[in-house]
């Protein structure tokens, strides 16, 4: 492994999350190290998406603490999480359907825009040249993801696999420290999956972005992740290197039990 995995960047301690009577997460602790690819796996309904939603501030756990770069994080809203360098993609694709690929990815630059809102609104002077600089950055991302040919297409018209790629592009435009990917390869064919794996590894490798990945395809998970957390019914049942997790009897049981 050429990448150097760093210190713990995000530390989740005893996280519990309930929706009314439903316990989505129960007393879960694990950490994420800088520059690693950290996978979260588990059967449907295990609480994986809830975990991501806790990390980027959509859900607020009733119990537990979160430390980001060593400091305890206060109650967080998604846009604040975004401003601390956490980006995400969505299990059900959260793209802006009416907008073009280019515009969608441009929205990812929102937090990087320095000129004030009024200037931006009037589309005036510095705001304009700034927009052009962001545009260049976005074009780089478009090249990187090999989607030049669909730059101007409204995303609603794209096939699912390409939408997932644009979703990734928008998150990358934020130049995040931590990238949360919720089933980025769901519903893809083998070839599309290979492309997506390559992009994820390249992002991790070239920009050093820490990646938290939810994925069902065990082959993919074993291939690209450094460490794996396993959830089942909202509880953590395994945590470690891919090989350790794979041979963990409880994990095997959970997966067999869920019909995998």
């Amino acid at each position: 492994m050429s990448r150097k995995i760093g210190d713990v960047i995000l530390d989740l301690q005893n996280i519990s999350l309930r929706f009314g009577g439903v316990k989505a997460l129960t007393d879960i602790s694990f950490n994420i190290r800088e520059h690693e690819v950290r996978a979260i796996i588990g059967p449907n309904g295990a609480g994986k998406s809830s975990m991501l939603n806790v990390i980027n501030g959509v859900y607020h756990p009733q119990d537990g603490k979160i430390f980001y770069r060593g400091a305890e994080r206060k109650k967080m809203e998604p846009h604040m999480a975004a401003s601390t360098g956490i980006a995400r993609t969505f299990q059900n694709i959260g793209l802006f359907k009416g907008m073009s690929v280019l515009d969608n990815i441009m929205t990812g630059r929102t937090l990087k825009m320095k000129s004030n809102l009024l200037l931006q609104a009037l589309w005036f002077g510095p705001a304009r040249s700034e927009e052009l600089a962001h545009r260049r950055k976005v074009e780089e991302i478009i090249d990187f993801l090999e989607i030049q040919h669909i730059r101007k297409t409204p995303v609603g018209r794209l096939p699912y696999g390409l939408q997932k790629r644009v979703d990734l592009g928008r998150a990358l435009a934020m130049e995040p420290q931590i990238l949360l990917l919720d089933e980025p390869m769901a519903g893809m064919n083998v070839e599309e999956k290979q492309d997506m794996c390559r992009f994820i590894l390249d992002v991790n490798d070239q920009f050093g972005t820490t990646i938290v990945l939810i994925e069902h395809d065990m082959g993919v998970v074993m291939d690209i992740s450094d460490r794996v957390v396993v959830l089942d019914y909202g509880k953590k049942i395994g945590d470690g290197l891919p090989d350790e997790v794979r041979s963990n009897p409880e994990v095997i049981r959970a997966y067999l039990g869920a019909g995998h």
Binding site: V58, P78, G94, F96, L117, Q120, A121
Partner: protein, 309 residues
């Protein structure tokens, strides 16, 4: 023929104003999911502010320059609408985010009464005038083309022109500027917009401010024509069938819907009105919108709603 075209043009001109007010509805609905029943009260409130500020400024300037007084009043009324936007976001939307549509609708009913109440307390409850120098006399045009020519009301024409200009500017703002892009993003998907760091709260203030400015312009136009009085609030609600027709989420729908309703109202008033004994313009728009709904429940340009089974 000349008379028909005259009516048609009259309808289009009136319709442009409906489009403008309907745009206010659509913007707020798209970005915050609120059906803003208070739009009418905002028109009244803005017009009241404009009328009184202009009067006060004119008085303070010794009656020298009505233009300057009006400018000051316009800026002042704009600031008042900014304050309204800020208060609504801070004390209403922020508390009620993610509530049911019906709850939010009730809240805007509340905002309606608060605005009407405060408006009358602060600005008074008489009938006030707004004099922005709108020409009152009609002109005759195209005398060579049609027999008898076409009579065009200059005031309506200028009003339509201003409304069209504002609609155009707003469209540009939404399509071309970064803030417009952020607004469209919020309208499309709240969660995703938040996750990339678009501050929803600030976006709401901007949207309500834009709706407030729209209300101000409509209030000035209607107010200078009809006088600033309580009924202005109901005039603005004439734009309701426009949003039903155009689809709550569609900007082009609001524009085209406004024109259709404007033309429909005028034509029905002239051609069907005499048969049913007048008063038709009050209910015709709703009937038109309802008939339309039977065929396209999602509105003119609204997205087709497909229930997931």
């Amino acid at each position: 023929m000349g008379f028909f075209i005259e009516t048609l043009i009259g309808g289009l001109m009136a319709g442009m104003l409906y489009s403008l007010v309907a745009l206010g509805f659509v913007l707020i609905f798209k970005s915050s999911g609120v059906f803003n029943f208070a739009q009418g009260a905002m028109v009244l409130f803005a017009a009241l502010a404009m009328a009184r500020f202009s009067e006060w400024a004119n008085h303070a300037l010794g009656g020298d320059s009505l233009l300057l007084a009006n400018l000051i009043a316009f800026v002042g009324a704009g600031l008042v609408m900014l304050l309204v936007a800020w208060v609504v976001e801070r004390f209403v939307l922020r508390k009620l985010v993610n509530q049911e549509g019906a709850t939010l609708l009730m809240v805007t009913l509340g905002i309606t009464y608060v605005l009407e109440g405060i408006g009358q307390t602060v600005f008074g409850s008489e009938i006030y005038n707004i004099d922005v120098g709108m020409p009152k006399d009609p002109v005759l045009m195209f005398e060579s083309v049609f027999e008898g020519g076409i009579l065009i009301n200059k005031e309506d024409f200028i009003a339509a022109l201003i409304a069209a200009l504002l609609v155009g500017l707003l469209s540009l703002f939404f399509q071309k500027t970064p803030v417009g892009r952020a607004l469209r993003a919020v309208a499309d998907d709240h969660q995703a917009a938040l996750s990339i760091g678009i501050p929803l709260n600030r976006i709401w203030v901007i949207v309500w401010l834009v709706a407030g400015i729209v209300a101000l312009v409509a209030g000035i136009i209607w107010g200078s024509k009809l006088g600033v009085q309580f009924s202005l609030a109901t005039v603005a609600l004439r734009a309701l069938p426009v949003v039903i027709l155009g689809g709550l989420t569609s900007v082009p729908g609001a524009i085209v819907g406004g024109l259709i309703i404007g033309v429909g109202e005028k034509l029905s008033e002239v051609y069907i009105g005499p048969m049913v004994g007048g008063g038709i313009e009050i209910w015709f728009a709703y009937v038109l919108a309802l008939v339309f709904l039977l065929f396209r429940p999602q509105g003119l340009f609204g997205e087709k709603i497909i229930d997931r089974v």
